[in-house]
Amino acid sequence: MQNNIKHLPFDIKPAEPGIIPPCPVGTDALTGIPRQQTNPSLWDGDGWQAFVAELATNKITIDELKPSRSLYITDAGGMAYGMPRGILIARTTEMVASVMKAAQKHRVPVTVRGGGLTTEGETVSFGGLQLDMRGMSRVLAINKESLTVRCEAGIYWHSLAESLRRFKLDYLSAPLNMTSSVGGTLGVGGIDINSPRLGCSADQALAIKIVTPTGEIMECSENENPWWFNRVLLGYGQFGIITEATLRIRPYTPLIMHYFYYGDLRTAMEDLVMLCDEDASDYTGILTMLDRAVNLLVAFDSDEREQAFFKKWRSRLRGFGELGFALRTGAYYALRPWKYKEALYLLDRKRTLLPELQPSHHMHNGKIVDRTVVFSQAVWKFWGGRQMVIPDLATSREKFFEAILRGNEVCKKYFPHYTLYCVGIKLIGPRERYEMSCIPPDAEGIAYGCEFEPMLEGKTYSRDHLQSFKNEIYDIGVDMGTSYYRFGGMMKGYIRRVFGDDLVDRHLAMKREVDPAMVLNRDVIF
């Protein structure tokens, strides 16, 4: 048969940094929306050798061995793969400054990494240098009087907690994942189940030391270099590298946790919003197993707060305790025997997951001794895998219900089992750093977010299947004008679609001004 299709040769030209080029292999899939390249091309600039040589004169040695570089081929998402040309473990602020000066001069891209817990390839290097900040993991000073800690930014929150707990202190809010780094978290926000009260982790920072894209070292706070402070916090690594941070801390208290179960997602969300609006608990969030099993967790730092909750708010919650929920759910499935597989799945979850959320060796007098250890271990055990797909939506209070219910329907379409993790985020007033970030532009007082996490359960899904799922979730954000926690990397095309050209171009202009060679975390946002 005669084939009349003419194949054009691939024409892959290096794109101007900041501009997302069309995909060189894929045709346009959606009417009116050109298909854009998701991962950047491998950087192969000719400045590398001069860059390495210049750093060597400063006694900074870049590791170009393959075994070392191969540790950085992907991030926690396991979907984007790239290989750095060399890696460097940062040890001092001055070292980072030398690297950035040389990188500007030789136009070498530098991709910065802490815990590497991104899922869209934001910390994956496609050529250039991978700068591993975890070499800067010291706790520099703990001040019990002012309740502050100064630490290097590569430190894991868990390691910081290890140090603070020796002095009966704790951080305020940090992601429920032990291998998140302080610097990485401050750069993207950082959400905890106490964020409805305390805000995101970035808002706990009182001061930061940064290295600018051109290699200057600067101390920043709301009063000192405030422009840089607000650009680097929630700046997705575009405007500087955080090397040290001063954070607010608090006296340590174990956690009194209660779980309430719902057979309906919307009801649970309404109760979550009510608890956040009325500041009824110290911690709260939603974790779903199925539509029929929605878990609203409510926790307290003190007995007084717990008692107040039971006195004033418990009766207003429409969720059940474990026994009440088991009876209702049992009755539901007894009348619907054809749904026995769903019932068996829930029983299995109850048997395996629930004990992991209150393991005896992390409990003391019925209280959880360390919430992050407990949740993080459960997350990795039940949701972790070589691939993790977690698209999300960050919304205003008004758009929360519709966005999440729509996202829930998308999950159902793609996967038999999935989990939604919903939490509120208190805003600390108008801040420049909230612009073009995970904080939705229309949120006032409090924002809400939801992660949509399919249980891959060892099954092999095609990359297209997973990407289509993510796109459909992200499309809801475009349609409703929300924002996203995961912000950049493979989904960066959505940033322009959500925020519009004017805003993105304004931020791109700022980026070009402070990073003339566009080398710092290149291709992540712009």
């Binding site: 393959k66 005896s360 060796h361």
Partner: protein, 326 residues
């Protein structure tokens, strides 16, 4: 081809590093990570490099650096037996001459009497006659030191050398008839737990001594109690409740981190005991163990830890047997 011996698969669970999902949780309690913050030197780094195509030779430096404290083992969400997996890698590297091969002769001793409750005390305790006598008296009249200290087996295991099956059989056979075997060394404890029949109760020296009320009565809230790490970390699920109960009963603090993993001094490692090159500073480990805890006294289960604290802590150090109330 490397001959397979009985100790190749002593415990259930995967030793296949390709099962690693790269979460990095195992690094959080790793002393090598704590001191160097270099992923390639950790178990997680080794597995990720292997998955990325690194050869075993390229992992040799990291394997040499590991002190087999087992801190990573209870943390792996994939259930990988990290300690065993590292020993296996050492074995492969040792067979190719890429690891040092320390040689050790096992000392045999005359047993003063036969007993169904045997203690394998290790060289340090056996050489300290007064403490050895104290240990035996606290363990009860029916216990006796076993004649074979198995030092060579331990060294073979830890350095990844070829295990002599006949030697291992000769060591195990008399122990198989005992009612209880009490072991001071954690790695040897792990080996014996996997090889001895279930009719033999294998106990750590620390657990055996703590069973004596007078020992527990000697512990104070101002003590830092050093659990022997290798046995504890490989069997955390079993041991954590016992030590939690000890903490509640006596008020002492423990060398457990937030993940309830035992932090080592590193002094029990092959590198330290045999004077090999090491990337772990025992002084730094001691400093980290003491930071913010400010104990008045340190009580150890292992005499290796005793030496480490005596050299660097600057506060009194006692073996567990020494704190017993009369």
């Amino acid at each position: 081809m490397i001959k397979k011996t009985r100790y190749d698969h002593p415990q259930p669970g995967s030793t296949d590093p390709s099962q690693c999902n790269g979460c990095g949780v195992c690094m959080l309690s790793c002393p090598v990570w704590h001191q160097h913050h270099t992923k390639s030197l950790t178990y997680c780094g080794r597995t990720r490099a292997t998955i990325g195509g690194a050869s075993e030779e390229e992992l040799a430096q990291a394997v040499r650096g590991c002190i087999l404290c087992g801190s990573c083992e209870p943390l792996c969400p994939m259930g990988i037996r990290t300690q065993q997996s590292t020993i296996r890698l050492r074995k492969n590297l040792s067979a190719r001459g890429l690891l040092a091969k320390p040689t050790a002769q096992s000392r045999t001793h005359t047993m003063e009497r036969t007993s169904s409750h045997l203690v394998i005390p290790g060289n340090r305790l056996r050489d300290n006659a007064a403490l050895a006598a104290k240990v035996l008296s606290l363990l009860g009249r029916q216990t006796a030191f076993f004649s074979d200290d198995a030092h060579d087996i331990l060294l073979t295991l830890e350095s990844g050398q070829e295990m002599n099956d006949d030697r291992l059989e000769g060591f195990i056979a008399p122990l198989s008839k005992a009612a209880e075997v009490i072991v001071a060394d954690g790695l040897l404890f792990n080996l014996l737990r996997s090889l001895l029949p279930s009719s033999v109760a294998v106990t750590t020296l620390g657990q055996a001594l703590l069973a004596n009320k007078s020992v527990r009565a000697g512990l104070k809230p101002t003590d830092l109690y050093m659990i022997e790490t290798r046995a504890y970390n490989a069997n955390r699920r079993t041991f954590v409740a016992c030590y939690d109960a000890l903490r509640k009963e006596t008020g002492c603090s423990l060398n457990l981190d937030l993940q309830r993993v035992a932090t080592p001094t590193g002094a029990a490692s092959l590198q330290h005991r045999e004077g090999l090159a090491t990337i772990i500073s025992i002084e730094e480990q001691v400093r980290w163990l003491l930071e913010g805890r400010n104990p008045e006294r340190i009580v150890v289960e292992s005499l290796d830890d005793y030496e480490a604290f005596a050299a660097h802590a600057g506060i009194p150090v006692r073996h567990l047997a020494e704190v017993a109330q009369p």
